[in-house]
């Protein structure tokens, strides 16, 4: 049994600590510091964003047995495993670009975006194809490792290194010679946003599947035939 008087003491102390009048919190409702930090988030913020994204993956894996949906089409072109391969490919690419940038390297390649479609369509297709032979578990493991490595990098770099503007390999306007200018901090946030977007989509897809029942799912992908 918990000692109630002790717990009550703890509650009283907590109340007095968080009481707005006595903590002075009500005198300090100025949150303008937020706008100063939005463009140049410090390392601890980037780390927390990465940790949260990893946590969202853990939650998804606890909630859904992804393996059983692995070969189901989640978009007109991709199965769930393909989508995870896509997310992993970006995690690898962004971590690798961040590391190269931190070492002062420049990029001798570009990832041009298709103008008619959001994202680098061709690059996405090739990268998913490269990971065709990996299992879902292997992909998820690789994805997690990329986040861990990026967390280490973020904690290692100085604030100046995190926020120095550089040219990265992405070419959002489709022209390989005009590449995106940004910071390692923005690369980290880009990775987190990208994963959260797809995590949301997977959750929505799974909720829809549960609503309509497994029989209404798009067909499984036929198994790959081994070349003779």
């Amino acid at each position: 049994m918990i000692d109630m008087s002790l717990y009550n003491n703890l509650q009283d102390e907590w109340k007095s600590l968080t009481d707005s009048d006595s903590s002075g919190a009500m005198d300090d409702l100025d949150w303008s510091f937020i706008h100063d930090q939005l463009r140049t988030p410090r390392a601890s913020i980037l780390f927390a964003e990465l940790e949260e994204t990893r946590e969202l993956w853990r939650e998804l894996l606890d909630m859904i047995e992804l393996e059983s949906y692995s070969e189901r089409f989640i978009t007109s072109a991709w199965t769930l495993k393909d989508l995870v391969a896509h997310i992993t490919s970006w995690a690898v690419e962004l971590r690798s670009q961040a590391e190269a940038a931190a070492q002062g390297q420049s990029f001798d390649y570009a990832i041009p975006y298709a103008l008619s479609i959001v994202g680098p369509n061709e690059w996405n297709r090739i990268e998913v194809e490269k990971r065709r032979n990996l299992s879902l578990a292997e992909l998820l493991q690789e994805l997690n490792q990329q986040s861990v490595n990026l967390e280490d990098l973020v904690l290692e770099l100085s604030e100046e290194e995190l926020h120095a503007e550089r040219r990265f390999a992405m070419a959002p306007n489709g022209d390989p010679s005009t590449r995106w200018k940004g910071t390692i901090g923005q690369i980290v946030l880009m990775k987190c946003s990208h994963e959260r977007y797809h995590l949301d989509r997977i959750r929505q897809w799974h909720a829809a599947v549960r609503r309509i029942g497994p029989n209404s799912l798009p067909p499984r992908k036929p198994p790959l035939r081994k070349p003779k």
Binding site: L10, W14, L29
Partner: protein, 198 residues
């Protein structure tokens, strides 16, 4: 338990969330209301659950991350229950991630956690705390509890549900309850022992 925020008490978040979901208030106005509602709680977490020199920065981190997320908040049906506190839960999780970042960064700097602790509380400060705050249970808990135990205590005191705490710490609700009871029992034993010495 006396004064504990009841699991079924109406959440102060719901009117703000609903007004924002209906487009009646701007993102910034709603944010400001949450800031006023929870700034003292987040500050309390940082004071008790983090190294003193990191507390202000951690507090700021939590709000910066929340602001970024709030601008594109998804209003999920499970967050609409009258007693749901999705914002407090989000702030609590973010607080934990932020503390972990500072801890990891400090470990890199000092290599050993022992060194980190030695730097965070000087012997003089320790003596002062002993003298002034000997009977302050939260202060004793802060020094006695493990990071996870402090997390559970702060979450319980802030009215976060056992389900949310369990999900955040990736343990079962039963484990949350077990750890909480064990840590409070240890605190009780410790305080009694110190009182008998003094």
């Amino acid at each position: 338990m006396r004064d504990e925020i009841s699991k079924n008490s109406p959440s102060p978040e719901q009117p703000i969330l609903r007004a924002r979901a209906r487009g009646e208030v701007s993102c910034d106005v709603a944010f400001e209301e949450f800031y006023a509602l929870y700034i003292s709680i987040v500050r309390g977490w940082a004071i008790i659950g983090a190294r003193r020199e990191d507390a202000d920065d951690i507090c700021q981190d939590v709000w910066i991350i929340f602001y970024r997320r709030w601008c594109s908040w998804r209003f999920l049906p499970e967050m609409e229950a009258d007693d749901a506190r999705p914002i407090l839960s989000f702030l609590y999780r973010t607080f934990r991630f932020s503390v972990e970042g500072y801890r990891r960064k400090a470990l890199r700097k000092y290599e050993l956690l022992d060194d980190v602790e030695a730097v965070s509380v000087s012997p003089v400060e320790e003596q002062l705390i002993r003298g002034i705050e000997l009977n302050r249970c939260l202060e004793v808990a802060r020094k006695l509890f493990s990071a996870d135990e402090i997390d559970i205590l702060l979450a319980k005191l802030s009215g976060i549900s056992a389900r949310e705490i369990a999900a955040t710490l990736a343990i079962t609700e039963a484990a949350v309850d077990h750890r909480f009871r064990n840590s409070v029992a240890r605190l009780q034993k410790h305080i009694r022992a110190r009182k008998s010495v003094t």
